[in-house]
């Protein structure tokens, strides 16, 4: 028997590490991984609440988040590869122009 709070706190800590990663890292791939970490942290909160309230709907939400994450990664990485082909850099600070 574990209080649900502990898992929610773990989820919050992982989410905030993801936030810090987005804010401080300059490699665009690591920024992307941090976004994945935030999605995972939210999933953990969903699963914890599903278990705490005995409702499966939370687990369904995790399933949908995973699907959206898969779609997001596919398109996002394709965009990154295209950007890298034109700019030859994975530094987010070099992406300061709307012009291609």
């Amino acid at each position: 028997m574990v209080p649900t709070n502990y898992l929610i706190i773990l989820s919050a800590v992982l989410f905030l590490i993801g936030v810090a990663g987005v804010l401080v890292r300059r490699n665009v791939l690591v920024v992307y991984m941090s976004i994945e970490l935030m999605l995972n942290a939210a999933n953990l909160a969903f699963a914890a609440f599903a278990s705490a309230f005995g409702a499966l709907d939370g687990q369904i939400a995790v399933f949908f988040v995973m699907t959206v994450a898969a779609a997001e990664v596919a398109v996002g990485l394709a965009i990154l590869v295209t950007i890298f082909r034109t700019r030859q850099s994975v530094d987010v600070d070099s992406l300061h122009q709307l012009k291609g």
Partner: protein
């Protein structure tokens, strides 16, 4: 201290340590492998939470498919380790760490102050979160979102192919 709490604490330490490793490692491949470790730890947590379907989906979809896709992207883009210091906005980094720490303290306090109000994680009865139960709910109550998901995945597939078409034809 019960055995459940002990297992949870060990898993939480591994997850947080691996997430910090991802945050601070210079090498992109190491960061990726740290992220895989976080995801596998979360899969074990899902098993404890009575969600075996989610645990297996986490291992196959996240730690498997998505991370392999990331690895392909790393191989295409190269494993440059950037000079992470400096940058156009010098004060951004310490300020970001400070604000994140403040937010962390606030969130942990908000949830730690409510111990007991959110209930205890009880051992789920047999069949809770099983693939059969998930499937029954998914194909009845959540049928429309499920079908919309297939359209989303198709759009993402077409989008990825179209975006990298020039790259492939070179």
């Amino acid at each position: 201290m019960s055995i459940d709490l002990l297992v949870l604490l060990v898993l939480a330490l591994i997850a947080i340590g691996a997430a910090l490793g991802m945050l601070f490692s210079r090498n992109v491949v190491y960061a990726l492998l740290f992220l895989v470790l976080v995801m596998l730890t979360l899969a074990v947590l899902y098993l404890i939470l009575g969600a075996p379907f989610l645990a297996l989906a986490q291992v196959t979809v996240y730690a498997g498919a998505i991370m392999v896709l990331f690895l392909f992207a790393v191989m295409v883009l190269g494993t440059h380790s950037l000079d992470e210091l400096g940058g156009p906005i010098g004060w951004q980094r310490p300020w970001a760490f400070f604000l994140t720490a403040v937010f962390l303290i606030e969130v942990v306090y908000a949830f730690a102050a409510r111990v007991g109000k959110l209930g205890l994680l009880s051992c789920a009865e047999a069949g809770f979160g099983s693939p059969a139960a998930i499937g029954k709910l998914l194909f009845n109550q959540y049928l429309l979102p499920f079908e919309v998901t297939s359209v989303l995945l198709l759009a993402a597939t077409i989008g990825a192919v179209v975006l990298t078409k020039d790259v492939l034809s070179e």
